[in-house]
Amino acid sequence: MPSLIDERTEARPNPRQEAAARVRHATPSRRRTVTLVRGLAGILALALVWEFAPRWGLVDSYFIPPLHVVLQAWWELARSGELADHVRASMVRSATGFALATAVAIPLGAAIAWYRPVREFFQPALEIFRNTAALAILPVFTLILGIGETSKIAIVTYACFFPILLSTITGVATVDTQLLRSARVLGLSPVATFRKVVFPAAIPTIFTGIRISGAAAILVLIAAEMIGANQGLGFLISYASMNFLIPKMYAAILTTSLLGLVINYSLVALERRFSRWRA
């Protein structure tokens, strides 16, 4: 079986040879197909275990129903339009919270990294907030903002805020000194330097935070919806489990995973679009 060591030390043209011949090392397309097939096989194996473990009595089929029962429940939910309502509710909350967090965290992070007094003023306070788990202050949000939409959007905003803020601070603060020096030599104004040099250079780092936030948005929202809501995927999961609608519960969980997957891959695609210039 080929291991990592074979893979990394495999014979290939070195970068200079590639440059001289104006070519790039290629992996045979057959290998890509193999990769795809193996990946699908892994998922299929998981599905088979889920289907047959309850059937053969390896696990209690009441608590873990076979996959086809779960998929049936999912199909019922989807067909009745119930699922769409819950997904929409969750999506609106997490998207609003995520967008709010991004809109505030990026400018604030840039200001913190850019101006020393701002940085020195905010850093200690931010350190305290950052280390406070979002769900720990959910009761605070509920007390102040009620049990409606606002408190859920607020908690998502809070959870998304810090990863983006911190990555923006890092991204802006670690811009290559040489790039800044060449901008200064060209007599660029601070605004132009930020717009043309610092911000583009920081984008890849900022995206790291954005992706963490994308995952956090779903995670925190589901938890918040499980605690107090009458709609949304988190509510659906806790409602189904409390009423022993076990297949329905699994269907809701599966939907959450799919939603997370979709969000993560769209953020990756967005990131790739913004950093096409990277090797």
């Binding site: 200079r16 040489q178 030599v185 060209l186 007599g187 583009p200 250079a201 210039w277």
Partner: protein, 274 residues
């Protein structure tokens, strides 16, 4: 399009903290530097590492202000960075998210050149450094030598009177470096820009400079300025570095620098004995 540079009694001190005693004190990087560079001249600055070569360049580029003395361009003291001067640094300072052409245009944007003119001008200068067909490549798709050529094209594109270069070929392999040295001399002849070129490589200093300023360290001073009178015109197709004249210049500068390393080594020995 070229300017003269005058450094008069220039001193530069920094605040530093000692490695072993943690005491705050002043570090004299440059002391009483006098240097006169005529318009259109190619001067190389050579010296041991840590002698303040790059500090001289930072002063002329306007990135830092001298603690004492004056630095002037065409007789006017420098107040900061300006588009009458440009710098090529050792590390590649291209914007990785812009193509070669985009990087040259970046300088033209800063210089306030009209958008329509920028693209054409950028291509002209990429053509000048022999990279016309690589205009749409990103820096990561270019070799080290090509990146440095783009940096040179960018620095020349807004037609500065002075081109400052801080060991621009230091990170390149020997063959690429020699080729770029030859090309740089050609570009300098065509544009007539004043060039100040910093290096620690004696051969490079002799090959490029009409005059070589040798610096001494601690504090940084100009020790001697040597006129290099080599027949570069007829030397196009022969190995200039192999001529006896070249060797004698090289040896003279080597001896000057050697003296210093010996001097620098001595007090340390004394310290250890005491």
């Amino acid at each position: 399009m070229s300017s003269s540079i005058t450094l008069r009694d220039v001193g530069q001190t920094f605040l530093v903290r000692g490695d072993d005693d943690r005491q705050l004190r002043e570090f004299v990087a440059l002391d009483g530097v006098d240097l006169e560079i005529a318009a259109g001249e190619f001067v190389t600055l050579v010296g041991p590492s840590g002698c303040g070569k790059s500090t001289v360049l930072d002063l002329v580029s306007g990135l830092t202000k001298p603690t004492s003395g004056t630095v002037s361009i065409d007789g006017t003291p420098i107040s900061g960075p300006g588009l009458d001067r440009s710098v090529v640094f050792q590390q590649y300072t291209l914007l990785p998210w812009r193509t070669a052409r985009g990087n040259v245009e970046f300088a033209l944007e800063a210089a306030g050149i009209a958008k329509r003119e920028r693209a054409a001008r950028a291509l002209d200068y990429l053509e000048l450094v022999g990279l016309g067909e690589f205009a749409n490549r990103y820096p990561h798709e270019l070799s080290g030598g090509m990146k440095q050529r783009v940096a040179i094209a960018r620095s020349l594109s807004y037609e500065p009177g002075v081109l400052l270069m801080d060991e621009p070929f230091g990170a390149l392999d020997a063959q690429t470096r020699e080729r770029l040295q030859e090309e740089l001399v050609g570009i300098w002849r065509r544009t007539g820009t004043t060039v100040v070129f910093i290096t620690h490589d004696i051969e490079e200093a002799v090959f490029l400079g009409q005059r070589v300023a040798v610096m001494s360290s601690r504090p940084g001073r100009i020790k001697e300025v040597i006129d290099v009178d080599l027949d570069r015109q007829t030397a196009e197709n022969q190995d200039l570095r192999a001529t006896p004249a070249f060797a004698s210049y090289r040896h003279r500068i080597w001896s000057l620098l050697r003296e210093q390393t010996l001097q620098a080594a001595r007090p340390e020995v004394v310290n250890r004995v005491a």
